[in-house]
Structure formats: C-alpha cells, structure tokens
C-alpha cells in the first residue's frame, strides 16, 4: 500500500464529503450472526470534530470528479480543485481497518457523478457487496443513491446497505432550479419512491419468510441545505414534513450552508454559517417526530420563521398561553411533553413517579426538569406558582435574562435539544 498516496486521497475525498451532515449510524439491526466482523444497531459517535459534530462513519466520496455543476457544491465541475478517486479495494481496506480498531461504525459512501448515474452507482454497490460478501462485514453501510440509476442497481444497493439516501439539497424546487439548473427534482424523488415501495415490499416478505434478506433496514434519509436560498423555515419544515409523511423517511438533515464558493447566486463568502437556525430546525424536527407537534403549530403563515433566541417549544408555549398552566400531577403525558423544560425522559419519569404521590418542585428538579423554564407553565404539589398574569412576552424576557450568556454566547448544538 502506498501510504502517502492513500493519505492524500483520503484527505481530498473526506474533505469533499464533510458537508453532508448526516452521520447517523443507528436504526439498523444487522447482527453478527456469521461470526464475521461487526454489527449495526444503536449507532455510536466514536469521536467529535472540533466543531462538535459526531464522527461515526468513515464518510468519503468514491471520487470528487463530477460532470455536474451544482452551484452549492465544492465538487462541482467548474470548481478548480484537486481531484482524486479511490479504487473499490482501497475503500474496502480502509473501512475494515478503521472498523477493527473501533474508530467507526461503518461506511458512508457517496460520490461525484462520473460518466453517468449507473456507472457511478455500480461502483458504490461493488464496495458494499465486497464488504458484505468477501469480508463478512456486518457494520453499518450508508450509500448515496445516485439519481437516475437503474432500479436493478438500486435494488442491489438495498440488499447490501443499511441506509440509502438521496439529498434533496434545496428545500424547494425553485431553489434547486436556481442553483442546480441541470438537475431535476423529480430525478431525486423517483429513487425515493422506488426505495420506499421496495422497503415496504421486503418488510412484508420478511414477515412471511424469516430468512428473507434484510433490505435497507435503516431506511432512507435526505439532506437539505439551509441558508443558500431564501426559503423560510416554514417552507423548509413543510417540505421535511411532506417527505416524512410520503416517503417514510427516517431522518431529514438540515445543513447550514457553509459559503465555500463565490457565485452571485449564493450568499457571499464572508457570510457566517447559520448554525443557530440549523439548531432550531433540528429542535423543530424533534418536536414533530417525538413530541407530537404538528408542523403547523411550529411554523405557519403568521409565524414563518423560527425564533432564533428561544427554542421552538418555548416559542410555541408563549404563543399558546391559554393551554397553561397544566397540573403536573394530573395532565396526560402528551400535554406534559409540551411543557418547556421537560424532555421525553423526564415526562415519562413524572408519569411513573406520580403514582406514588404528588410531586413538588424539588422532586421535579431531581427528576431532571428544568424548573427555571417549566415553572411558568405548570402547577405541582408546591404552593408557589408564578403569577398567572404574566404575558408570553414577559416570560420570554425572564427566561432569556436568566440564560442569556448561555444562549447568546455558546451557540447551541443539535444534540443538546431542550
């Protein structure tokens, strides 16, 4: 092995892949039943970058040569950068050797499009196939589905990969037209539709025949870039919601646009990455998936943008003061989940614990409730309750004053949700 050459390729092709923010390696249930190498289940972050993002997978491009010229992408044809390409075997060796040292959960392989969609997809599939069949590798494999690749190849990809994804990139069709005129949104949606149907079909099959092979057990995901085009949060979240509902997506990733290219259609190079906005979008996404919120409750015509200075749950609560206060010792789990300062785990603990006796502030604090926020919205077994005549705006000011330094200086991150 030529170590220097590989090192060089790795740095070029990892660098080009890093703007794809998806790092998840969870949601699969591939077991190590053949006494081979690895398994894929909960997904572990093996390290964190200096910007605080999870490093879970070896995330690389097979090549950064590309025939397209998407404005937002560093690998676009017209960009004057170093190009490189891995061989199939090189990717396999890197994956296995990183995996055996417990550096990674598996491989996330994407690629620039060289020659055509099928040619590219075929190489990606070859890597996955080699890992699974020749190396008995049961770790996580995420393949990018290349828009326009044949159904045959997509089907094969699903047999080896845990997850497949097509990046929508732009939240709306107009955004895509503007920045990637030679791409067509329908070409991205087609493989999603195909995979969705195939996944459902294979699940049915698996119910009937236990031995039926796994097919993309961790489902599909996608990514949208935010801040490159002028879409509102309402448009972004509505579109995410649409894909969750219609394509059974496991995750939508929001990637704050990092200005790496000068192009008059794009934000200037010195624009800062919209990290707070990105974080707010993830919080809103969680509210939709785990907290029983409807997208329209979070953003709507009257409220098309997420508040940047407070999280979307608090923002919803102060716009809906008529729903509060709720009695923590009586309210349904669904309502408790809507209280700012109470997460899923605390909510469940509350519902368990109150069977043994009514809970007071001290107990709630111990359970993990952030009483500083929750106290404006609940009553409990303590006589003290915040004056009921506070307006939503007052509450916002109080909470902000208390947590000011924390919120404004230290930009919140996607893992630290509520």
């Amino acid at each position: 092995m030529n170590a220097d050459r590989i090192t060089e390729k790795l740095s070029i092709l990892a660098d080009a892949a890093k703007y794809d923010v998806s790092c998840a390696s969870s949601g699969s249930k591939r077991k190590n039943e053949n006494k081979g190498l690895g398994n894929a289940s909960n997904g572990i972050c093996h390290s964190y970058t200096e910007d605080g993002r999870c490093v879970s997978l070896l995330k690389i491009l097979l090549t950064n040569y590309c025939i397209y010229d998407c404005a937002y992408c560093v690998s676009r044809k017209g960009n004057d950068i170093q190009r490189a390409a891995f061989t199939v075997q090189e990717v396999v060796d890197l994956t296995i050797n990183f995996y055996r040292r417990n550096y990674i959960e598996g491989l996330f392989l994407s690629s620039g499009i060289f020659k055509d969609a099928d040619f590219t997809m075929e190489r990606l599939v070859q890597v996955a196939k080699k890992l699974r069949t020749e190396h008995k590798f049961n770790g996580y494999i995420h393949l990018k589905s290349i828009p326009g690749a044949s159904d045959e190849l997509m089907r094969e990809a699903g047999l080896y990969a845990d997850r497949l994804s097509v990046n929508l990139e732009m939240p709306t069709e107009e955004g895509l037209k503007l920045l990637a005129p030679d791409k067509n949104r329908q070409d991205m949606i087609d493989p999603m539709q195909f995979l969705k149907d195939e996944i459902i079909l294979r699940k049915e099959e698996k119910k009937l025949f236990k031995k039926a092979p796994l097919f993309a057990p961790a489902g599909q995901s996608t990514q949208v870039i935010v801040g490159a085009t002028p879409e509102t949060d309402q448009q972004v979240l509505q579109s995410a919601n649409y894909f969750y509902q219609n394509f059974n997506l496991k995750r939508v990733y929001y990637s704050g646009y990092v200005p790496v290219l000068a192009d008059k259609r794009l934000p200037a190079l010195n624009t800062s990455v919209p990290m707070v906005r990105e974080n707010r979008l993830y919080q809103a996404d969680w509210l939709m998936r785990f907290y029983g919120f409807n997208v329209n409750e979070i953003v709507n015509q009257g409220q098309p943008l997420l508040d940047l200075d407070i999280d979307p749950k608090l923002s919803w609560a102060i716009r809906n003061m008529q729903a509060f206060p709720i009695d923590i010792n009586k309210a349904d789990l669904q309502l408790i989940l809507r209280v700012p300062g109470i997460g899923v785990q605390s909510a469940q603990k509350i519902v368990s614990a109150r069977k043994f006796g009514k809970l007071n502030w001290d107990q709630l604090k111990k359970i993990g409730v952030s009483v500083n926020r929750a106290r404006y919205f609940v009553t409990c077994n303590s006589p003290e309750f915040e004056r009921r005549d506070l307006t939503g705006n007052n509450i916002k000011q109080f909470i902000l004053a208390e947590s000011q330094s924390k919120y404004l200086k230290n930009k919140p991150n996607q893992l630290n949700l509520f």
Partner: protein, 252 residues
C-alpha cells in the same frame, strides 16, 4: 448511629442489609474497609460477608423488585462510586419497608439517586464503547488501554464480543489494573504486570507494521472532516472531556 464496615462486595452489601434488620438498627453509616481505631462516635461493627444471609436478602429483593430493578442495583454497586454505599442502603431499606414495588418512585431521593448512578454508568459505558482505540499487535491481538471514571469493564463484554467476534482483543483498565481478553471464543478477566510502567501501551511495542499507517490515516481523516468555519471548542470538549484524550489516537 451505628457505623458499619464491609468488604465492598455486593454480597457484603446484602449481608449489611441482613444485619441492619436482624439487629434492628435504625440510623446507620456504611464504609468500605475495616474499622479504624479512634475518632468515631457511636457503635461500630465489622460486617463479615455471609453468603447465606446475602442469598436471603437477594431473594427478598427479587420478590419486591423487577429483574431489571435488581440488575440496576447490582450495576450501581459495581460502579464503585465514592460514598454511594449509604444511598444504596437507603434504597434497599426503602424497598423492604414499602408494601409495593417502588422502583419507579422517582419522587423518592434514593430511587432518583439510583437512577442517576445508572445514568452515569450507562454514559461511561457508551463512552468506552466509543473511545476504545484498538492497536494491532504482532500476534494479531487488538489492544486498548482505558481509564474509565467508573468500573464499567464488565458491562462492555457483550458489546465488544458480539462486534469483534472474529478478532482477538483486549481492553485494559489502567486505573483498576485489570482487563478483559477475548481469544476468539470466550472472554476472561486478566491482570497484566506493568508494575513499573505508567502506560502499557508504551511497553507493548510489538505493533504490526501497518498499525502506524492506519493511525496516521485516521488522524488525517479526523483532521479533514473538521469544518473550521463551524469551530466550537466548548462543544467539542463537552463531548470528549479532556481526560479521555490521552487514549484517543486522533487526539494524541
């Protein structure tokens, strides 16, 4: 107030509970180790671990707690956290003094403390599953040194055994001076004699040739995926506290 001393084992803890009820003690303090002559007031008692008593208490616990509840108690004790014994005793007494199963009574200070300990243990276990960095030795064993905050090695066996079923590996806890070794079939606990050297990693210079290449590739990968425009050191350090760095290939 009675001060009790025990040997630090789980059976020992259960024996302590037996003594508390047998002797009808009300206010107690529990310490690991043996009585010291001198300064303490009140009664003192060395509890000698007794398997029969311990088994009786365990049976009682099994009646009052779910299997998971018993396991959580066991893990909380295994953690070997300083000064938590009294909370565990408080928890067990609360179990026996209540008519119903109280393991979900998070309004109770002992129950919530137990759940905090379990959470800390679980977090440390996850960290180890993430931060173990194997280095390949010439005999094809993959070796890693760790220094976890709590005693979590026994909790790691299942994960590493099912994941790395086809390679020999060893994870060694330098703080507690023992490790687990998997020979391709079974795991066993082992102790190595590194008496005079601080870091066994330095002693075992028997790495394979490509070990340094892959370490180098990993470091360079780690460097490449960083996006400088998003730098957030505070967050970085919160995810990987500095005390873990010395065993992380990419941070050395």
């Amino acid at each position: 107030m009675t001060t009790l001393f025990y040997d630090g084992t789980f059976e020992g803890l259960l024996t302590v509970i037996f003594e508390i009820y047998d002797r009808k003690l009300s206010v107690v303090r529990l310490f690991k180790g043996q009585q010291q002559a001198g300064a303490m007031f009140g009664e003192k008692l060395d509890v000698i671990t007794n398997e029969v008593y311990a088994t009786r208490v365990l049976k009682g616990l099994r009646k009052k707690l779910s299997p998971n509840g018993v396991q959580r108690l066991y893990i909380a004790h295994m953690a070997e956290m300083d000064n938590e014994e009294n909370n565990l005793v408080g928890f067990i007494r609360y179990v026996f003094d209540s008519a119903q199963n109280i393991e979900d009574d998070y309004g109770n200070r002992y129950v919530i403390r137990l759940s905090e300990i379990i959470r800390m243990m679980r977090r440390e276990k996850h960290r180890m599953e993430a931060f173990v960095r194997f280095q390949k030795l010439k005999d094809d064993t993959y070796y890693a040194s760790v220094e976890p905050d709590f005693n979590v090695l026994p909790l790691l066996i299942r994960h590493f055994k099912s994941r790395y079923a086809d390679q020999k590996w060893m994870i060694y806890d330098l703080k507690r001076s023992y490790g687990i070794y998997y020979n391709g079939h079974d795991t066993q606990f082992i102790t190595l004699d590194f008496a005079t050297v601080a870091n066994p990693g330095d002693v075992i210079s028997a790495y394979t040739e490509d070990e340094s290449i892959y370490q180098h590739l990993w470091k360079s990968y780690f460097h490449s995926v960083n996006i400088p425009m998003r730098k957030n050191t505070k967050l970085h350090v919160r995810h990987i506290p500095k005390r873990y760095w010395k065993h992380l290939t990419e941070k050395i």
